[in-house]
Symmetry: C2
Subunit: 415 residues, 2 copies
């Protein structure tokens, strides 16, 4: 008999029928004797409907306090409907807004951070055998103002509640049945992972596997909350995201292959090789709130250097405008941009103790004729920037090279 | 410079454009230097949309706590949108849910009663020059559960706030421009009243002039809150609902003619004339939560009596079924029902001091050949039950007979 926090997203709750399906699932867990706290998002489409109303009134968008009052109703509606659906199944349930729980946040409207969760009311209800249904995405500041945590904040609510309640597991229900070794649409042999570490998940998530909000994974890692990604629509164990020591016993070197097509590359050629150049190029980019990913500086000839970095493709034209000013100021030679690139990464905590991951990766890509433009490494990840047209080929090649389509046991033996 | 509480209903706030119109109106009052507290309903259609969602989940309708959580979001959305629209006009505004105010109620979900209003937050905002926008219809019980006051409860919220804040006036904005001497669709010469007393308004309202919720009028009378009914869509002074001493200076005998087509008549013939008959007939009706209006008992011959009463037309068939059992038990002779009746009433606090109102009423109806089936009187009202087909004729006749189409001055002189 465990205490489980379950989070259901907007798609899982998009219609009355789906809400009833979720209620069935919860009733099953309750019937097995588990204590259940449920965190819900707004029904799919509802947040957009409310945003649209706000945009009609204030096209420029400027009263974050009132936007939070407005948006928080979306989750409140779902808590009530799901509680009703549970009552219909004979399950005693009770809804909570963020302020009723009380989920105390700072006062940064539309992107508040959780400071403290008061668990007294929830614990009382659980002791009485009730299922507790909490509105995700929202909280209240110390003045009683309604706050929201930003898009995807319901995942964060679930993890924070699981941490506060010391839950045995936090289950995030989505429309996929787990975390895969890579995107199954690209590689037929992509395999669902039984387990993945928080760090690996962060690397996978930040590169486009949008299964979970990064913040909620960070939070779960920080508070050691076992997190499980599961499907709302199919039965199955999903993927458990856990601490390294729990996952590492038979951990293969590589957990998966991540990739991202949404980057673009900018190269400043012929920059005078003087101290502070990197700051003078990237400073104005950062001030414009543009995130820079991979950075490469070549040492060139004649006290000149080439400076290359990647940004999100949406930020390319703005970055270009900013750099054109910088080039004049620096007396650099030329700016080249390339939007037709992609990033492919091998991710795995196991590479810390397994030598040769990088060389195996580069050899595999060379064998199929994929040219590497840039390389970036971290402790648990090696990323390469390549021409976009080689993306699928590179992902499939690496998936095979690291034997990710094999079951973990055989893979462990082979490694 | 006054403190004004203004209540806007769902029709006045039904679209983004209308919300902006209401914001304009409020900004005008604020510009004149008044302190303004605004109470809003849900956008028209929204409460029905939410009720419909609840009905899909729980057709039998049985979790009032969750229904309140659901429905209260309707008003919350409007407070946010109206506050945004005010910000757009440069008016500093701040939204409040019932629980943020805090409007403390009892715990009778879906029809809670207000126990206390905490005005600290509102007073602080008003002192800072802010317009306060409060969600009508909702409150919070002493356990922090969201409650609602029942349909039309936003009027009650407005009056209760006006009482708590000791406001100079509580303005109820609707789609009519005031209270009329009778329904202008029936009598061309119907005239908007400048003033009407709370008691007269109660009698007018309970007979189908659905301008205001009865409970809010009772509440305003109890706490002597000057109440003004005004149009959201046209300028004009509306009708002031006030204490008798304020209104009575030039008060005519009769304020208006009210009527109601929604009643039906049941007559039990040949009832044994023994003590307790009225109770034995009406007891089971009351137990079925059916409200009885006019009651008449004729003393007949041979220790037999006839017993007649009226109920809402919707309750007729249920009343009939109940009475058929009663008749057998009592050994009464026969049950006759008549759904084709109407009630017409003359209403006015002035009739207390003006003799002859009843005789003038009966003579006027007799002159045009309208037969009176039942008569019921109170201190400030005389009602008659007539055949439904005579309703318009009777209303027009009485409107003329009491010179209600004339201006109050000339009417006062003639009376």
């Amino acid at each position: 008999m465990a205490l489980i926090v379950q989070k259901f997203g907007g798609t899982s709750l998009g219609t009355v029928e789906r809400i009833e399906g979720v209620a069935d699932k919860i009733a099953g867990f309750r019937g097995d004797g588990h204590d259940v706290v449920v965190v819900v998002s707004a029904m799919s489409g509802e947040t957009n409907r409310l945003m649209d109303l706000a945009a009609q009134v204030l096209p420029e968008g400027s009263t974050p306090r009132e936007l939070d009052v407005l948006l928080s109703t979306g989750e409140q509606v779902t808590t009530a409907l799901l509680s009703m659906a549970l009552h219909k199944l004979g399950v005693n349930a009770r809804s909570y807004t963020g302020s009723q729980v009380r989920i105390l946040t700072d006062d940064v409207h539309t992107k508040a951070r959780i400071l403290h969760i008061d668990d007294v009311n929830i614990c009382t209800d659980l002791k009485q055998g009730k299922v507790v249904v909490v509105a995700g995405f929202q909280g209240v500041d110390d003045q009683g103002n309604i706050t929201t945590l930003g898009r995807g904040g319901s995942d964060t609510t679930a993890v924070a509640l699981a941490a506060a309640l010391n839950a045995d597991e936090c289950q995030i229900y989505t429309d996929v049945d787990g975390v895969y070794t890579t995107d199954p649409r690209v590689v037929d042999g992509a395999r669902r992972l039984e387990k993945i570490t928080f760090e690996e998940m962060l690397e996978m998530a930040s590169m486009g596997s949008k299964v979970l909000q990064i913040r909620s994974v960070e939070f779960a890692g920080k508070y050691s909350v076992p997190l499980r990604v599961m499907s709302s629509f199919e039965d199955g164990p999903g993927t458990l995201i856990t601490l390294e020591e729990d996952a590492a016993v038979e951990a293969p070197a590589i957990a998966g292959i991540a990739f991202n097509r949404d980057e673009a590359k900018l190269t400043v050629l012929g920059v005078p090789d003087i101290p502070g150049v990197a700051y003078r190029i990237l400073g104005p980019i950062g001030e414009a709130n543009i995130e820079v990913d991979v950075i490469l500086q070549n040492i060139g000839e004649d006290a000149k250097t080439d400076f290359t970095f990647t940004v999100g493709r949406n930020d390319l034209s703005q970055s270009q405008r900013i750099l054109e000013r910088t080039i004049t100021e620096l007396g650099a030679q030329e700016l080249r941009v390339d939007a037709k690139i992609a990033k492919v990464s091998v991710v795995g905590v196991g590479m810390r103790s397994h030598a040769g991951v990088a060389s195996r990766m580069f050899r595999a890509l060379a064998d199929v004729g994929v040219n590497i433009q840039m390389i970036s490494t971290s402790e648990i990840k090696i990323s390469v920037i390549i021409e976009e047209k080689f993306l699928e080929l590179a992902v499939r090649t690496l998936h095979s090279a690291f034997e990710l389509d094999a079951e973990p046991d055989s893979q462990g033996a082979a490694d």
